[in-house]
């Protein structure tokens, strides 16, 4: 099952290369739909208490101890579903519109899906690193070749290059870290990169301390976190919007997921040691992202910086190092993906209507488009984690974990909640309400956009009614992950 889930998108993408231009988009959408079907099947058969499921474990490079090993557990089952869902939405949205070189575009889309699913599925450290880096390749082309150049001279390829350099530096550090972990753990014996094996016997805390940062930097760049977000502004403005929807919706989560899957189990002592540093980074991301979001005038960047803040919350939840915080973080990863993807699709729709990405040149769009306004309103409220939405439940769990672990951080983080209300509503008001600028023609969304948007919004509403759908399935795995860091620091650390 894991195998078919992983390779279905790519298989469809490759076949799509040989199809005529007009069929490529629909073929790719069918591929994404098939993947979603598989993901749903995995969720349906998921046993919340059953540990790792749908295992695939094949020796891949025996000499180096690298296995091709995949598996599903509570940490990734909903992220897989989210990936499949958002890709279906993004692909369908793109398929409804004219693309240049569509066969190649959709191949890249589907390759990206496979790579992302691979990163979520991988249970072998090197396989994880491989998929993590593979994700970059399709997005490099999607952003660079199908992106838009800015009038102020920043070309799409330059913006993409900046992003690639950032992420590649992180990835290479992570590769070094992964190899070092394997070698130090083997200690002259047989090499293994299986995450479960490595977690059984964590490294000595001296090694943990530096390898932790190699991984952390890679993940923090991906999110992106404060001070490592330099690539965001240019890349977000260059990217094609349907691609950005999946990119922002899913890729950022790979970073947060990496902390839970790799860092906590493998480097528990370092995690505890650097807990406060990570929390400070998380809080800085929350506050800085929010402050940026409420002064930005470019709609993409408002959404982009709001993601920085939201990922800050998720990081804070993970590094509360409590089961409730981490539960909330997992829930919030799904929620944020579900919110930000429709947000970017709505932005695409808005930009088509107003011909500008500047908030100051928008306004009053709700008048002729009540359905769009209603959908956007729901998404906005979910973005600001309105109580009653699943986002609130996620944030509530995160903040509760943080509150019980480090009370001061929770108070500071709650400032971010207020700021979120401000920037999310500001985005909504400035586009949908107030006076309409001269020459702006508002119109309702067509059925094509509706087909993409309505199911996504329906998922938001459904989760709002029953967030326990996710919590009850992830809780066991999260508690197992958190158990790794409980009782730390180990004795040596305590003595020091």
């Amino acid at each position: 099952m894991s195998n078919s889930l992983l390779w279905t998108p790519l298989a469809f993408g490759v076949v799509g290369l040989f199809l005529p231009r007009r069929a490529a988009g629909w073929w790719a959408t069918a591929g994404a739909a098939a993947t979603l079907g598989l993901a749903i099947a995995i969720l349906a058969g998921f046993d919340s208490g059953g540990g790792l499921q749908h295992n695939v474990d094949v020796e891949w490079i025996p000499g180096l101890g690298v296995d091709y090993s995949l598996g599903v557990d509570g940490l990734n089952v909903f992220l897989l579903l989210l990936t499949a869902l958002l890709w279906l939405g993004g692909t369908a949205f793109a398929a409804f519109r004219e693309q240049e070189r569509p066969q190649l575009f959709f191949l890249m889309m589907l390759l990206a899906e496979t790579a992302t699913l691979g990163a979520f599925l991988a249970q072998d450290l090197l396989l994880f690193v491989l998929f993590f880096d593979l994700m970059l390749v399709p997005f490099y082309f999607l952003f660079g070749a199908w992106g838009t150049d800015r009038p102020d001279g920043v070309t799409a390829s330059a913006a993409t290059l900046k992003m690639i350099v950032y992420t590649l530096v992180g990835s290479l550090l992570m590769l070094v870290g992964a190899i070092a972990t394997g070698i130090i753990a083997a200690d002259g014996g047989d090499l293994t990169f299986s995450i479960a094996e490595l977690a059984r016997q964590p490294l000595d805390e001296g090694s943990q301390r530096w390898i932790f940062w190699f991984f952390a930097v890679a993940f923090l760049v991906k999110m992106p976190a404060f001070l490592l977000h330099g690539w965001l502004a240019d890349a977000y403005r260059a990217a094609p919007l349907p691609v950005l929807a999946v990119f922002s919706g899913v890729l950022a989560k790979v970073g947060a997921y990496g902390f839970l899957r790799v860092v906590l189990p493998l480097f528990p002592d370092a995690t505890v040691e650097f807990q406060e540093v990570m929390l400070v980074i998380a809080l800085a991301s929350i506050l800085y992202g929010s402050a940026m979001a409420f002064t930005q005038t470019n709609v993409r960047l408002v959404a982009g910086y709001s993601s920085v803040a939201q990922l800050g919350f998720i990081t804070a939840g993970i590094f509360a190092l409590r089961a409730d915080g981490a539960d909330g973080a997992v829930l919030q990863m799904v929620n944020h993906g579900l919110v930000v993807a429709p947000l970017f699709i709505i932005i695409a729709v808005l930009v088509e209507r107003s011909g500008s990405e500047d908030l100051r040149e928008m306004g009053g769009l709700a008048m002729r488009a009540p359905v769009l306004a209603a959908l956007f309103l729901i998404v906005t409220l979910a973005t600001l984690a309105m109580p009653g939405s699943a986002n609130f439940v996620g944030e509530f769990f995160i903040l509760n974990g943080l509150f019980q672990a480090k009370i001061v951080y929770a108070f500071v983080a709650s400032i971010g909640v207020v700021m979120a209300a401000f920037y999310a509503l500001r985005l909504y008001q400035r586009t949908m309400h107030n006076r309409t600028p001269e020459g702006l023609v508002s119109r309702e969304i067509g059925w094509r956009d509706g087909v993409v948007l309505v199911p996504l919004v329906a998922c938001i509403v459904a989760l709002a009614l029953y967030p326990n759908l996710i919590l009850e399935r992830t809780d066991r795995s999260v508690e197992a992950t958190i158990a790794a860091v409980e009782g730390r620091p180990s004795e040596e650390l305590a003595r020091r």
């Binding site: 909640v417 009850e472 809780d475």
Partner: protein, 669 residues
């Protein structure tokens, strides 16, 4: 049917009404949407009565029932059910909320008839009622917060209902953000409660609190103070009150429903609901009481000078909620809830009458321009007078009994609580003066242009559609209440709604008259009987003494207003001249807006701008560019070696190998 089943139905109807009117915005005719919306709330009220009957069938001690539909969120040690709690307090709130809401829906049915967003209005209004009911029925803190935030959102949506008005959208944003501050306070309080007691469930928390905490322990005080942040933000108490006056940008029925009768009293409900915690933290309760007192005086003074009709009533609302907060904070729970009930009657009525007059004025809200409506609109004027009398606590009206019960309780507690009685009566004087200032401005005198037109032609005057605040022309597509204005005299639904409320405002107080009946106190007693102050009961004699004082003060206030605004109309101007600094302070609403702006809003925006313009460019990009420069510089050094001379490469190679060979020779020997 059990009380909880009724309660679920109470919740269901408004939600269904909201969804049906929203989804059917194209299919349903406008009148049908209004009818559905009104009927949904009426059904909800009926179910509330059902719950009441079912509850009265139980023994007084057994009158609390919890029920849950499904597990809302559970994991990591937290457990939250989608559960409700039905007890006398929640049923009392349900009845008042749904009852008044039904009437206001009926009023809106007529008042909003010509508005473009008729469906949207009823959908929002029904959603608001659903949220408010969720708030009062919630069985745990998480669901309470959900309801709490939902009413905040509904309030936002309705304040900025005419969304082409920038003043309206700005006011909505302000209300929402301040309310989110309150939400955060509640959320943090919930965390602290969970840390101490390990549960979010009301019954478990209140059951465990007395054993777990010692009186005035810092944790329980902190919990109560955080709860108060939520309560004050929602109930527009100092210093979170600034949004309420701006909220008057919304359509008048919204002001009546949300910003007078129901939502803003949620803070009072919260304090009453969590009284077991406040019972353990008397310091926090006293702080709440003093804030309530300060609010009632500050708002009362501002109401003396405001010239905008709706805003004047809004300040009066703040002031009256101050009384309720004082009441529930000093332990006069049932008196506070009683005042909540009567207030929702007469304040809703006042707003309805004001809406009718504003419609007749073609949306001009300036009271200085109004006069002579007593002749032009007899029914509306009568209702305005009834509401005003009740607000001014004229003897025999509903406000008369409820306000004095709070003050009598305060004097019965004695000690420093006498302050509340004394200043409370001072506030009552203010109330009577500012209320009758409005009435004497509007009703008597020579009819102004609009009133004259109404008398002569029987038609409502029409003017340029301008925003009353900024004076700019309205965008009539949506930013204005439609081409026609509706007044009670011409609209039966409005008339019925106002008539019923008028009767309630007059006689509603008779449900609880000292020495005669105490229906509300005995009904609510099962909820509050475990409070340490439950035994404090002012005697009927002292209550009547208080009522006598109240009557004198009320009459004195009305007389003073008559003297100032009718008998000697030149006095106010002279007073303003004499007390110029005080007047400036009041006109500027004690400069709260400016202070908040300077202390919080500006710094936050400046930080954001600094982050955007400076930090991003120099530090974040600087980090990247700095790295790039370093790499380039290092590359420059290495470049020097790449001369292109093949033979120099060969020399380096050979020299290198020779060096290595030499090294090994030295090492081996």
């Amino acid at each position: 049917m059990s009380a909880t089943a009724w309660a679920w139905l109470v919740l269901l109807f408004p939600l269904l009404g909201s969804i049906v009117t929203a989804v059917g915005y194209r299919a349903l005719p406008a009148r049908a949407a209004g009818a559905i919306g009104t009927a949904a709330i009426a059904l909800s009220f009926a179910c509330g009565v059902g719950a009441l009957v079912s509850l009265l069938g139980d023994e007084p001690e057994a009158r609390h029932h919890a029920s849950s539909l499904w597990t809302y969120a559970s994991g990591g040690g937290l457990h939250v059910d989608l559960g409700i709690l039905v007890d006398p307090l929640s049923v009392f709130m349900v009845l008042v909320v749904t009852g008044v809401s039904t009437l206001i829906h009926l009023y809106s049915f007529g008042y909003m008839r010509s508005d473009q967003g008729y469906h949207r209005f009823f959908s929002y209004l029904n959603f608001f009622v659903f949220s408010m009911l969720l708030l009062v029925l919630a069985g745990n803190f998480v669901l309470l917060i959900v309801g709490w935030a939902f009413v905040g959102f509904a309030s936002y949506a309705l304040i900025s209902f005419w969304y082409r008005r920038e003043t309206a959208t700005g006011a909505g944003m302000k209300a929402f953000v301040i309310n989110v501050v309150g939400d955060v306070g509640l959320v943090l309080a919930a965390f602290l409660i969970f840390r101490e007691l390990g549960s979010f469930d009301f019954e478990q928390v209140f059951h465990a609190a007395p054993e777990h905490f010692t009186t005035n322990e810092w944790t329980v005080t902190a919990i109560c103070l955080l709860l108060l942040v939520g309560a004050f933000a929602k109930s527009a108490q100092l210093p979170f009150h600034t949004w309420l006056a701006d909220a008057m940008e919304g359509p008048t029925p919204v002001s009546a429903l949300i910003h007078a009768a129901t939502m803003v009293t949620a803070g009072v409900y919260l304090i009453a609901r969590t009284h077991p915690l406040f019972g353990m933290a008397p310091t926090a309760a006293d702080i709440a009481a003093f804030v309530g007192l300060a609010t009632l005086l500050v708002a009362g003074t501002i109401a003396l000078v405001v010239t905008d009709l709706k805003r004047a009533i809004a300040y009066s609302t703040m002031s009256q909620i101050g009384y309720m907060v004082v009441g529930v904070s000093i332990g006069a729970f049932s008196a506070g809830m009683f005042h909540f009930m009567t207030h929702s009657f007469f304040k809703a009525l006042l707003f309805m009458a004001a809406g009718s007059i504003i419609a007749a004025m073609a949306n001009d809200q300036n009271i200085d321009r109004m006069s002579g409506f007593g002749k032009a609109m007899r029914f509306t004027s009568a209702m305005l007078l009834v509401g005003g009398l009740a607000l001014a606590a004229f003897p025999g009206t509903s406000g008369f009994f409820s306000k004095d019960e709070i003050l009598a309780f305060a004097s019965e507690r004695g000690g420093m609580y006498v302050i509340f009685t004394v200043l409370g009566y001072a506030g009552a004087l203010l109330t009577a003066v500012y209320t009758f200032r409005l009435i004497f401005r509007i009703l008597p005198g020579r009819p102004n242009r609009e009133a004259q037109e109404l008398i002569e032609t029987g038609h409502v005057a029409h003017g340029e559609p301008v925003n009353p605040v900024t004076g700019e022309r309205e965008d009539t597509d949506v930013g204005f209440p439609g081409p026609e204005h509706h007044i009670a005299e011409h609209s039966l639904p409005m008339k019925v709604a106002m008539g019923v409320l008028g009767i309630l405002a007059l006689v509603g107080g008779l449900i609880q008259v000292p020495g005669v009946s105490h229906a509300i106190t005995s009904f609510l007693d099962p909820v509050f009987h475990d409070s340490p102050l439950a035994q404090v009961h002012p005697s009927a004699g002292s209550e009547w003494a208080g009522l006598a004082i109240g009557a004198v003060i009320s009459l004195a206030g009305i007389g003073l207003a008559y003297l100032l605004y009718v008998a000697r109309p030149e006095t106010p101007a002279r007073l303003i001249e004499r007390l110029r600094p005080v007047h400036t302070l009041l006109v500027n609403k004690w400069y709260f807006d400016e202070a908040i702006d300077a202390l919080i809003v500006r710094p936050a925006l400046a930080t954001g701008r600094f982050a955007n313009r400076t930090f991003e460019r120099f530090v974040v990009d600087g980090l990247v560019n700095g790295t790039a420069e370093t790499v380039r510089g290092a590359g420059g050094v290495v470049r020097l070696v790449q001369s292109g001379f093949v033979r120099s490469y060969a020399l380096l190679l050979i020299a290198g190998f020779a060096g290595l060979a030499l090294y090994f020779l030295v090492v081996s020997s």
